[in-house]
Symmetry: C2
Subunit: 368 residues, 2 copies
DNA sequence: AATAAATCAATCATGTTGATTAATACGTCA
DNA sequence: TGACGTATTAATCAACATGATTGATTTATT
């Protein structure tokens, strides 16, 4: 799957670095690229020529008004590559086609009471066929990413069918592009890293509060996977009281307090304020503890909090986490900045699509 | 300090990789190097020729008895480069000259009740002069590393003098080589990584129990420093009870229980077994908690425990940590293996010397 | 005239590829 | 038993490919 040097996807590290820089900082002229990459202007000329020819970059309008020859900013070509994302959730499957700049071009979804392999596969296959049919033959799909919770079968007896399903392999059959699978919370982190609208440092920890709590760790601008593909398992972080983060900071905990489950969109989020406030207080305490742990270990300057929750709730969680962190001992370390994510419910599906993007277009394949 | 391309120290990434491989796996023939680096045999021939010419590698006796042409294993040249290490402790300063394979060639030390800048600087300068005098002019010193606890001034009013001392800059003056400074617990980790006799994976966390508790994080074979040079501050990891690791797992805690301080060598370690056992039990609990946190965050497969304690104590700590970890919740993660370090009291001084070594000879400069 | 962006042409550094040589073990045959 | 051919492995040589740098040059602007 990862062994074929598909010619148009075979980018060098320096080409990837250029694309990654423009993705994060917006359109840049060649001179700026030379300066920040440390490469010679000549090398940038050669590399960008190739990238433009291959349809990954567009030359913008020349910028006049400054001393010296005008510069021509280079921007990402939206159709440079397309990516498919499949997100598997507790109540919802989603399939999306995402372009090179992170726009969702096509989106389909289906609601269920609980996911079965048959239903998910049928939805994915049919959606895939429809999408592929609708595309011009010139459209370049680089790959598909799947965001799925780990251990679906732990959710209850009706989920036992997932035990021996290899979603990735089942869907990859017959497709002309590779398929990637990752924990859904990690994909949310990947989305923030690749498509996020926040200003982020090279190192940060991402906490994503959905039915479960999970996260991702970004070091040196790359999402860390870990030797056993289980880094960023923030939901499993131990917290005081013999518990783990996901016991305190997850929507499932809120649902338990509430006595009912919440629908898979913000519009249905009707939660009594006192119940929510209490949940937030406890969750924030756990989040603060975990954030400080990460900082002591990795010198993390920023912790991003996001989740499949309404913006107001996310804000309250972030605020409460900041407050809770003040009460925890931090001798010898600098408390990290807590900021909100920018993608909320769309983080996981965008992150799914970001998996092939990172693999082919980010320096180092963004895997580690 | 780090900007000059001293010719004999200007090694390419591939040269560094070769040296690093041989350092860890022992003498290797060229064919093996080609296989594991992925470079062509021809490239290995060229690179090793240069490394031998420059005095970093020695060709060993050819190995016969196998099918095919005999192979000539290449080993590190002990005099390939020399490194100075200065370790500053609570009761002890040490200065050492360490060769390319991690042997301590010269060692001097001085005991005090508490360190003052004057005394430490005088000791270092005099020792430095003596050592440099004793060396042949052909000896190649690559640099000096300093292992010092952070925030010395927090130890008490008599240490206030350290507030505005830049040890690194003061000592660098007049020296022909660069000086590096790092937290002493981090250098212990660096020593295990570079000179350690244990078999280690590419990712591990190192816990070092001395007067304080600290540690280091190694990812992808590189010691992680962090954007603010404070990664691996494991002593500051929060643990249940509103405390931090160093409140539970440090020799200073033991000394408090004991009502007296312990001398800076194993021979003076006379601790009643019940006091030690109780201390170990509490420390192990905290260590296990921290180990699990690190694993959830980074998918760490191995945690190394070492310290400035007798081997038996270290073993008891490791054993107790393993046990304590079983009692902590670990849903969603694999508990890491707990192993003992191999360097004990010499870890920090060796690690100090390893700082310049890593900077010049490890892939990526081993800083991150 | 100064400045900055971008390119051209020549060169260099560092790798690969494919052919070649060297030294050995092992099977086979006289 | 000893001699000899063959497969195997290590290592190198020579030619070439890739991808960068350097220094001179062109262009468009204040």
């Amino acid at each position: 799957m990862l062994n074929d040097p598909i010619p148009w996807l075979d980018l060098s590290q320096n080409e990837r670095q250029i694309l990654s820089l423009i993705r994060r900082r917006g359109p840049l002229p060649r001179a700026a690229l030379a300066h920040v990459t440390g490469l010679s202007p000549q090398a940038i000329t050669n590399l960008t020529r190739k990238l433009i020819q291959n349809g990954f970059l567009d030359a913008g309008e020349v910028v006049r008004g400054k001393v010296g020859q005008p510069s021509t900013p280079l921007s990402l070509a939206p159709e440079g590559a397309l990516f498919l994302g499949l997100k598997l959730g507790r109540r919802l499957v989603e399939l999306a086609l995402v372009d090179f700049v992170g726009h969702i071009k096509i989106h389909r979804q289906e609601i269920y009471s609980h996911p079965t392999p048959e239903r998910v596969l049928a939805f994915a296959r049919q959606g895939l066929a429809t999408i592929l049919d609708s595309l011009a033959p010139s459209a370049r799909i680089a790959g598909m990413g799947i965001a799925a919770p780990f251990r679906l079968w732990d959710w209850g007896s009706e989920m036992a069918g997932w035990h021996d399903v290899d979603l990735s392999a089942s869907l990859a059959e017959g497709l002309a592009f590779p398929v990637f699978l990752e924990n859904d919370a990690s994909t949310a982190c990947a989305a923030e890293l690749i498509f996020g609208r926040s200003v982020l440092p090279r190192d940060f920890v991402h906490l994503y509060i959905a039915h479960f709590a999970g996260g991702g760790v970004v070091l040196d601008g790359r999402l860390r996977i870990g030797p056993r593909r289980n880094a960023g398992a923030l939901g499993s972080m131990p917290i005081p009281g013999g518990r783990q983060l996901l016991d305190a900071a997850s929507v499932s905990t809120l649902e338990q307090r509430l006595g009912r489950s919440l629908p898979p969109d913000d519009s249905g989020w009707q939660v009594p304020t006192d119940v929510e406030a209490q949940w937030i207080a406890e969750a924030a305490h756990a989040l603060a503890f975990v954030a400080l742990s990460a900082t002591a270990l990795l010198d993390i300057p920023v912790v991003v909090i996001d989740g499949a929750v309404p913006p107001a709730t996310r804000r309250a969680l972030a605020d409460a986490t900041r407050t809770a962190m003040e009460a925890l001992p931090a001798a010898g370390i600098d408390r990290p900045k807590v900021i909100e994510g920018s993608l909320a419910r769309s983080a996981r599906i965008l992150g799914a699509a970001a998996l092939p993007l990172a693999h082919f277009f980010e320096p180092g394949g963004a895997l580690a």
